[in-house]
């Protein structure tokens, strides 16, 4: 909207300023016959102006958003802060660059609307697609490449949870990847692609399935994946619908929830050394009455499979994910990647 137009204007103006600077730089060496001696020595100007809030610097030849993030924010992976704030992905030498040092929009809400974060859900992968939930490895690679080439930033589910607690700003084009159940095919087909592209992901495993045959990941596999930077979280014990069944007494239901929600925790502690804090509801199903129980067993966020993105102010125990099915075309896939809801909030 207005902001976008302004962003473009600003870029334009900067380009104009740079051109002018360039122009006078080229005139600088030519004249001045009166100065026969060595170049005048002046007090060196700082390369940047800095405060706790902002760094204002000027791009030098070869500078990229990454190099500036490394130099001024101490980490190349904070590059999104520069790109999101300036709206630019490359700089002309001499161009002014304003770098925010802190979060400037924790909730992702602007007068033009608010950020939404898509969380994608995958299940099984194979050479060839089979049924809805076994995705062809080639489709998966195509989708991940799409994310990379279109400027999406894959963030961890933990970072997303912090976003829903108003503790962390996310990149404007943040996306989260999740894999349900704990199929061994993750290691064979997803892991190499994710590693190559530098993407992280969360695996939601149901503990009865772990180590249950060749199609399942073992605890050993999961430890390896955790060591490689992947996040492992709970998907209950048996993958049963967690809603109270018809005719189930209070006591029966409490016992069942204890098994589904607490027993995985014991397995997590024993095998991975930590409890799980994030839950994926089996079949994506939940109801209001379930939420206190989920909380009671130590989960701070839980996910359905309602196909929509998440605003920062989504209820963390009722957040949404979008399942990616094997029959989806790339266009269908892209429909799940909206990152902004326009709404006039002035």
């Amino acid at each position: 909207m207005l902001i976008r137009r302004i962003a473009r204007r600003r870029a334009l103006l900067l380009a104009g300023a740079v051109l002018l600077l360039g122009a006078c730089a080229s005139t600088a060496p030519a004249p001045a016959p009166r100065e026969a001696g060595p170049a005048p020595k002046a007090a060196p100007r700082p390369a940047a102006y800095e405060s706790d809030d902002f760094v204002i610097t000027f791009a030098q030849p070869g500078d990229t958003p990454e190099s500036l993030a490394q130099r001024y924010l101490g980490a190349a992976d904070k590059v999104w802060m520069i790109e999101d704030y300036t709206g630019l992905r490359a700089f002309t030498p001499g161009q002014e660059v304003v770098i925010p040092r802190r979060s400037w929009n924790l909730a992702g809400v602007t007068p033009g609307g608010y950020q939404i974060v898509p969380i994608l859900t995958y299940h099984n992968l194979a050479e060839q697609a089979k049924g809805r939930l076994v995705l062809a490895a080639s489709s998966f690679r195509e989708q991940m490449n799409y994310l990379k080439t279109n400027g999406y930033r894959v963030v961890s589910l933990a970072d997303f949870v912090e976003f829903t607690r108003l503790n962390r700003q996310l990149p404007q084009r943040a996306v989260v990847l999740t894999f349900d159940d704990g199929y061994h095919s993750f290691k064979d087909f997803a892991y190499p692609v994710l590693k190559e592209l530098g993407f992280t992901a969360t695996l939601f495993i149901y503990t009865d399935w772990v180590g249950a045959g060749r199609a399942a990941l073992s605890w050993n596999d999961l430890r390896e994946l955790a060591a490689a930077g992947f996040d492992i979280q709970a998907h209950t014990k048996t993958h049963a619908d967690l809603r109270r069944a018809q005719g189930e007494t209070e006591a029966q239901y409490a016992r069942r929830m204890q098994a589904e929600l607490e027993q995985p925790q014991e397995q997590f502690v024993k095998n991975l050394g930590h409890r799980s804090q994030i839950l994926a509801y089996p079949y994506g199903r939940w109801e209001e009455g379930l939420l206190p129980k989920v909380k009671e067993y130590g989960y701070i966020a839980a996910f359905s499979v309602r196909r929509q993105g998440n605003a920062s102010f989504v209820r963390p125990l009722a957040a949404h994910r979008s399942q990616i099915y094997s029959e989806m075309t790339l266009d269908d896939f892209v429909k799940n990647l909206n990152v902004f809801e326009e709404e006039n909030l002035r």
């Binding site: 300036t86 909730a107 196909r307 929509q308």
Partner: protein, 405 residues
């Protein structure tokens, strides 16, 4: 809105840049060295002007950021510090006001308005925990259409019709807590909710191409970056990196816009929206496109109102008020449509009740309560109908020897 003063501002900034490089000459160490920064004062002056321009434009939060940038460049600028302090106080006051209005709306049970107030408080102060908590914990999302199932409907066909995307059937499925692979019974009511980030397609105008992808900007089109200040008014929208402003990026008459205008003229608002959405898909946020879209939504809402399609009218008006809350009498119209819609469902409930269709009657009144939690009659009627129903069921049980299904 952008004031003409901005044009002057842009010129001034360019002037400053030139001034800046005049003074650069002395400091750059000769050929091959990187360009030196612009001198401190002109740079600060540039940002000061941007702060003032943003403030005039009502973009208070971004104006405050610009003042902070000024202070990063010239930390001892007492005037800038004072200006930032004063602006911050204004922001705090506005946030407090919006929070207060939000809480009052919540107390009145007007969820939609409360949500908007809390959201607009966050837009001013995105780290405001009170607004955030209220949105997260106290505000329900209630915008939905109550749809009566017709023969032949499937969840996928409804998702296609309302969202332009069959796979969104899951959202309808989840909202209505349906069993797996449900068979929809004609005559039952389904809630079709809004989905943030997905344009609601009007049933009368099946969209040929969903504009969903449009929300995703291409790499050469920057996202709305909250921190990017607003210089020059006269400069047309140009992709970054383009050397000189050129008018050709904003052609005079876009065929899609022309189509939309014609459709509005012949009161074919569905068609108009299809065209204008297509146009906006390529140019998100375009002012002409948005103006036409608002016009079409308004016209559509009015004609739906006349046709007693209150749900649809509410939907159009909700979309419209999200784009511009004070568009014509859209606010009043929306209230009217809601009231009539509630009345319609309430009466429908009474009709069912008279026909002894108790379950159907209860469903209608529940819907009324969802739209207006303070509807005392609906609540009382539900209680009564449920009592009756219970009595009936018990009698049936006795009569059939305990076969309760």
């Amino acid at each position: 809105m952008i004031s003409p003063a901005r044009g002057l501002l842009a010129a001034a900034v360019i002037g400053l840049a030139v001034g800046g490089c005049a003074s650069l000459r002395g400091t750059s160490g000769g050929a091959g060295t990187p360009p030196a920064p612009i001198a401190r004062d002109p740079l600060a002056a540039r940002h000061r002007q941007q702060a003032e321009a943003l403030d005039r434009d009502g973009q208070l939060r971004r104006a405050a950021e610009e003042w902070k940038i000024v202070l990063a460049i010239t930390p001892n600028d007492a005037k800038a510090r004072e200006a930032l302090g004063a602006l911050q106080a204004r922001i705090d006051q506005a946030v407090t006001g919006r929070l207060d209005e939000g809480r009052k709306a919540l107390a009145r049970g007007v969820q939609v308005e409360a949500r908007r107030k809390f959201l607009s408080a966050l837009a001013l102060d995105p780290s405001n925990r009170a607004a955030f908590d209220a949105l997260q914990n106290s505000t329900r999302e209630v915008e939905f259409i109550a749809y009566t199932v017709r023969a032949g409907d499937t969840l996928s066909s409804l998702a296609q019709r309302y969202y332009g995307d069959r796979s969104r059937s899951e959202v309808i499925w989840e909202t209505n807590q349906l069993p797996p692979n449900p068979k929809l019974q004609p005559g039952t009511t389904l809630k079709i909710p809004e989905i943030p980030g997905v344009p609601f397609v009007h049933p009368d105008a099946p969209r040929r191409s969903a504009p969903v992808v449009a929300a995703v900007p291409t790499p050469d089109m920057p996202r709305p970056a909250p921190g990017v200040p607003a210089p020059g008014a006269s400069a047309p929208a140009t992709p970054p990196g383009a050397a000189a402003p050129k008018e050709e990026y904003t052609p005079e008459v876009n065929p899609l816009l022309a189509e939309a205008r014609e459709a509005i003229d012949r009161s074919d608002f569905g068609d108009a929206l299809t065209s204008v959405d297509k146009y906006l898909a390529g140019k998100p946020g375009d002012r002409d496109g948005l103006a036409l879209k608002k016009q079409a939504l308004y016209g559509q809402a009015r004609s739906q109102m006349d046709a007693k399609q209150y749900n649809e009218s509410i939907q159009s008006l909700t979309q419209l008020t999200r784009l511009q809350p004070d568009y014509e009498d859209a606010g009043a119209l929306l209230k009217q449509a809601r009231a009539r819609n509630i009345e319609m469902h309430y009466t429908q409930g009474v009709r069912f009740y008279r026909e002894e269709k108790l379950k159907e009657a209860i469903a209608e009144w529940r819907l009324v309560l969802e739209m207006d939690p303070n509807h005392a009659n609906a609540r009382r009627n539900i209680d009564q109908a449920e009592k009756l129903l219970k009595g009936l069921e018990q009698r049936m049980k006795k009569g059939t020897g305990g076969n309760s299904q």
